[in-house]
């Protein structure tokens, strides 16, 4: 398929692998920030063809994984209200809350609709004027514009039965949280290509300087990932620490100005709790005060008691790249996709799920 097969070309992949073998003289630890990159690395078997000296660790870039327990409890609570239709991306459905997941709530009668776009939720709100329609908006900068657009549409149409339970998180503060952790061993980053498609690359140059670390904006196909890794290792071997853009066919330095304008119109920055990582200052977006009629949190004033995370789940350490999924005592035994203890085991972008699906449960990825 054009625009895809070129980036899965085995010959180019092996040229990059050969080049990596040639230039790598020391051990390097590199974090791919985005869960989509983690899955591609594991799914395509890239981890077991990389030189042994290159250690890839998996970052916090899975929005489902970092959504706090409390927010899932809120979504379940809203969904169980007979007057509410809760709309969500499929990924969120199986993530365990403190008592149940949305999937379990659905099985016992809650009206939960799975969709690919929040604009579908607008359609449902239009067709069901006697119901409250709530969209569970989770995601990084990548999904935020579509969610913002749904609020703009609702406002334009005068829909009063549509609101959004928003939990948007931002990549740059997460990179800072990883680097500020005293246990971190990260020496280079593959930044998330699709987040930068929206936001541009401007936020990353200061991070590369502040932490003296190479950051390469990278795509998701095998050729992208290997080129990104090669660019990072080249910088590391040369003692450089700057921002580079591997994914230039999609990412422009200024990002997508129309999307950014929409984001600024709908969202405001706030401190945000990340599952497993704790509260990170200025790391999330919520709906602006003047649009709070569309903020489900305020509209329904849901007060749910905070419940502590499962003590056996090491999601926080996995999300910061300190531990690999198979280093968790629960991995593949007490924690599986059918009965997950934490979100990284269920989300399609979760590191634990990637290792579980594409490797021998309990073993390192080495087919």
């Amino acid at each position: 398929m054009k625009f895809l097969s070129e980036y899965r070309n085995p010959e180019i992949v092996h040229q990059y692998i050969d080049e990596l073998h040639k230039i790598t003289t020391k051990e390097w630890t590199i974090m791919e920030v985005c869960g989509g990159q983690t899955h591609s690395l594991v799914k395509n078997g890239i981890l077991n063809i990389l030189p042994d000296k290159i250690n890839m660790v998996h970052g916090p870039g899975c929005p489902v994984c970092v959504t706090p327990l409390n927010l899932i409890d809120k979504a379940v609570h809203l969904a169980e209200d007979k007057g509410v239709i809760l709309c969500s991306y499929g990924d969120m459905i199986r993530v365990p809350g403190s008592k149940k997941s949305l999937l379990e709530a659905k099985a016992t009668g809650a009206d939960i609709r799975i969709m690919y776009s929040p604009l579908e939720a607008i359609k449902i709100a239009r067709e069901n004027p006697d119901k409250e329609v709530v969209f569970f908006a989770v995601g990084f900068e990548t999904t935020a514009p579509a969610n913002a657009l749904s609020i703009i549409h609702a406002e334009r149409e005068g829909l009063t039965n549509y609101s959004v339970l928003a939990s948007h998180v931002l990549v740059p503060p997460a990179i800072e949280a990883v680097m500020n952790d005293s246990d971190t061993q990260i020496q280079g980053f593959l930044a998330a290509g699709h987040v930068c498609t929206i936001m541009g690359t401007g936020e990353y140059e200061p991070l590369a300087q502040k932490y003296n670390i190479p950051i390469v904006v990278t795509g998701f196909e095998p050729v992208d990932l290997l080129q990104g890794i090669l660019m990072t290792v080249r910088q590391l071997e040369n003692g450089e620490a700057r921002l580079e853009n591997q994914y230039a066919r999609v990412v422009r330095p200024e990002g997508n100005p129309a999307a950014i304008e929409m984001l600024n119109r709908v969202f405001q920055m706030e401190d945000r709790e990340w599952r497993g990582l704790g509260t990170i200052p200025n790391s999330g977006w919520n709906i602006r005060t003047e649009l709070e009629a569309y903020n489900a949190d305020i509209k329904f004033n849901v007060n749910i008691l905070k419940v502590p995370e499962c003590a056996d789940c090491i999601a926080g350490q996995v999300l910061k790249g300190i531990k690999k999924p198979f280093e968790c005592s629960q991995f593949g035994t007490n924690c599986t996709p059918e009965k997950p203890l934490g979100a990284p085991m269920v989300s399609s972008e979760g590191a634990c799920a990637a290792y579980y699906h594409y490797s021998n449960a309990g073993d390192e990825v080495n087919a």
């Binding site: 398929m1 895809l4 899965r8 070309n9 085995p10 992949v13 092996h14 594991v42 799914k43 395509n44 078997g45 890239i46 981890l47 077991n48 063809i49 199986r94 609709r113 799975i114 969709m115 690919y116 579908e120 095998p222 599986t336 996709p337 059918e338 399609s348 579980y356 699906h357 594409y358 490797s359 021998n360 990825v365 087919a367």
Partner: protein, 346 residues
């Protein structure tokens, strides 16, 4: 669209109601409105509680329920799916399907025109596969207690004399053959699901496989060790079941996986792996390596298996595991599907 060659008889009702499942006058009216005439054969014509017939030798027996939503989808509907599905399950046993039962669970409010369209395609599918529907049942449930129409079929068929289908026959060195390009059915159904509609010309691959299978067994009999249709859970799930049940390892090559470009594009867009997407007319063959190429050549002469190919092989190592060699040469375990990739697609 109603088939022109089987016009719906004139009726004094437009929708099916609870009364049509009561067993009384209305049930009689529904069945005599054309159902019996359409599916006519000597065994059904007795209108008895069950069919009585003789079978010789070893007999295969299978059943399946069909709850697909929506009931009409690009390339087919629930009716032909219900016939082809059970016909194919019998064919996979190495049997020639002969008689089927047919049971409807109808949600009240189903339009008679829709029910008739399903019936007509049942009739056509049964004729194509060469099977007779010899007994059946109709129930109607309250609105909201079903999803328009559920169908159960069961069937019996005579085992072919040269058939040697047995999990114990699967051995290292055998080749794994896939009969056609995969994932068309699942993607066709996905394309019209509420909230997901996208424009595509992809059609379901629902079709009877007993004709092709009959010829394969006639020609290669003893050397075909296992047949499995790759329905729910797709090719990956079937291969995992084989690896576990036969206690063998399986290796497949991603670059040999036949996927039509449009299906591949849709899978990319929806984030699905075609190896896990359902098929209704694709089957896997585990056969002796010496005849594998001949099987592929023969399959390619039939409509419905033009893209047949050798996908991989049974190996001595990594017992109970399926390993996929990715297109770029990396390897990974191909696991069982956990949960659902698509809700209710067959």
């Amino acid at each position: 669209m109603i088939a022109l060659d089987c016009p719906m008889p004139k009726l004094d009702f437009d929708v099916i109601t609870l009364g049509h499942g009561s067993g009384g006058v209305l049930t009689n009216k529904l069945l005599k409105s054309g159902v019996f005439d359409l599916l006519k054969n000597p065994l059904l014509d007795t209108h008895h509680d069950g069919a009585v017939f003789e079978l010789n030798g070893k007999t295969a027996f299978s059943t399946d329920s069909y709850v697909i939503s929506p009931i009409f989808f690009p390339g087919g509907n629930i009716g032909e799916l219900a016939i082809n599905g059970t016909v194919n399950d019998l064919a996979m046993c190495g049997a020639q399907p002969k008689y089927l039962s047919l049971s409807f669970i109808i949600e009240e409010g189903l339009k008679m025109t829709e029910f008739w369209e399903v019936l007509v395609s049942i009739k056509k599918a049964a004729d194509t596969a060469g099977v007779q529907i010899v007994t059946g049942d109709t129930k109607v449930v309250e609105k909201g207690k079903g999803d328009k129409l559920f169908i159960n079929t069961a069937g019996v068929g005579q085992l072919m004399s040269k058939a040697n289908i047995d999990m114990n026959q699967v051995k290292p060195g055998d080749k794994v053959i896939v009969s056609d390009s995969i994932a068309n059915h699942g993607i066709a159904v996905m394309s019209i699901r509420e909230g997901l509609e996208f424009e595509t010309s992809i059609l379901s691959d629902t079709r009877p496989l007993n004709g092709i299978v009959g010829k394969l067994i006639e020609e290669f009999g003893y050397d075909i060790h296992l047949l499995r249709d790759a329905t729910r859970g797709g090719v990956a799930s079937v291969l995992n079941e084989i690896a576990q049940d036969a206690q063998v390892g399986i290796e497949i090559l991603q670059k040999h996986t036949p996927v039509d470009p449009e299906v591949e594009g849709a899978c990319e867009m929806l984030g699905l792996d075609p190896l896990y997407v359902a098929n209704e007319g694709v089957f896997m063959i585990i056969a002796d390596a010496q005849i594998a190429d001949d099987i592929v050549q023969m399959l390619r002469t039939f409509e419905g298996s033009k893209k047949a190919t050798i996908l991989g092989e049974i190996v001595e190592g990594h017992k109970r595991q399926v390993i996929l060699q990715s297109a770029i040469g990396g390897k990974r375990v191909l696991n069982m599907l956990v949960g659902e990739q698509l809700p209710r697609i067959c």
